[in-house]
Symmetry: none
Subunit: 220 residues, 2 copies
DNA sequence: TCATATTTTTAGTCACACCTAAAACTATAA
DNA sequence: TTATAGTTTTAGGTGTGACTAAAAATATGA
């Protein structure tokens, strides 16, 4: 059973909205994510239900099935591998890759993905720090905390952002933060929750609590 | 004005069937090439005519316009660059690349193609020896050499004969050589100048130096 | 020239993925 | 509990790109 490009996109959206299949997702939520109308979503949910990649109860939202989860993870794997390719091999900036990867992820060729994975040396994380599922859909999770949760003098490494909008990525780039940067919390201002961060042992960065809440790090 | 994937495929087919825009192409020929029915082709030709990438006179076939030629060459450029990528970087065999490249060629991102071209070191020919148009649609024609001038292990494609007498053409036909055949020089016998040639990756051919001097090839 | 064969176009359908408008259902709060 | 607000579905329609069947145009040959 094959899925069309549109169906793959719906399934991926449902997977993300359901936090990896742990929550129900409403029709309206899917419509907002896909940027389409609720009426179109109803149609599609009926179809995805028939294909048994979701469980669909009218008026009560959807849950993704095991098969659906597997399919969604395959698409996510392809998306993230292509992102690594674009950044590592074609010198794309990390905020330029999403749209292109969105197209590339629908190319149908298991051999292509296998060889691409090999060519990229089996990367485990994409340029945004998100984990790349293996061919069986298994993900190597890394415990991540929002930067704002870290204590003074703690060290770590930036691994991801919550809000990956182009605007936010551009901002990070401008101030000199990036996925992979080694960081140390120099100060937390109690008054407004803002933080002072040392980046790569040399650059000091001031950020509001809103920014610090959007940056995810692993602690070391 | 943008073209859909289907429209790009039609345009590419028309470009090839018309020998680069030098001949008219019939509805049935297009149908055979695209593997669809003549009725579907009629519909599409009307649409491509409206978009002015072909000139369409009902019942009299189509001619590709300058704009159409440019569009077709862009698609061909993308197809061939992806083929180079698949073979050179992902270790695909030459006969495994076509279907995947057929999908990849429709990805819409000028930056992607520019960077891919750079990454591949601006290749001029694809793995089948076909020339890769530059971003303006210009193609570098390849100098022809007599087969006898080629070295052992060199690959290429037969493009013409010097002596085009019926007798010689008949002889070529009989032994299985033809204009367009992919060849590889397996051996050159010093004693009498005769050659051993692999045709289309499967057939081995022995020919005298007189025959080899009469066949023109491009090298790949 | 005229009947016939071949090619091509038109007419009418279908599936897909979207839309708007309206109806149906669920949730909420007085 | 009942009116109403919000959500979701249904009904009906659109454009794309395919299809079949039938009509129309062109080509061919006695």
């Amino acid at each position: 059973m094959t899925l069309t490009t549109a169906e793959e996109n719906y399934l991926k959206a449902i997977y993300h909205l359901s936090d990896g299949g742990t929550k129900s997702v409403s029709t309206n939520d899917v419509a907002a994510e896909i940027k389409t109308k609720a009426a179109s979503v109803s149609d599609m949910l009926r179809k995805l239900g028939e294909k048994e990649v979701i469980e669909y109860r009218k008026y009560y939202g959807v849950n993704i099935t095991e098969e659906g989860k597997k399919r969604a993870l395959q698409t996510i794997r392809k998306h993230r591998l292509w992102e690594v390719f674009l950044v590592d091999k074609l010198q794309f900036a990390w905020d330029e890759v999403h749209e292109v990867a969105e197209e590339l992820e629908h190319i149908q060729s298991p051999l292509l993905i296998q060889r691409l994975d090999e060519f990229l040396n089996y990367p485990k994380f994409d340029p945004h720090g998100d984990p790349i599922p293996d061919e069986f859909g298994d993900v190597r999770a890394r415990p991540r905390v929002a930067l704002i949760e870290m204590d003074i003098n703690q060290t770590g490494q930036i691994v991801a952002v919550k809000d990956s909008s182009a605007a936010f990525l551009k901002y990070l780039d401008k101030v000199g933060a990036y996925i992979g940067a080694r960081i140390k919390v120099l100060d937390k201002v109690e008054f407004d929750g803002s933080m002072e961060i040392l980046v790569d042992q040399k650059k000091t960065l001031f950020m509001s609590k809103d920014v610090a809440a959007n940056i995810l790090a692993i602690q070391s």
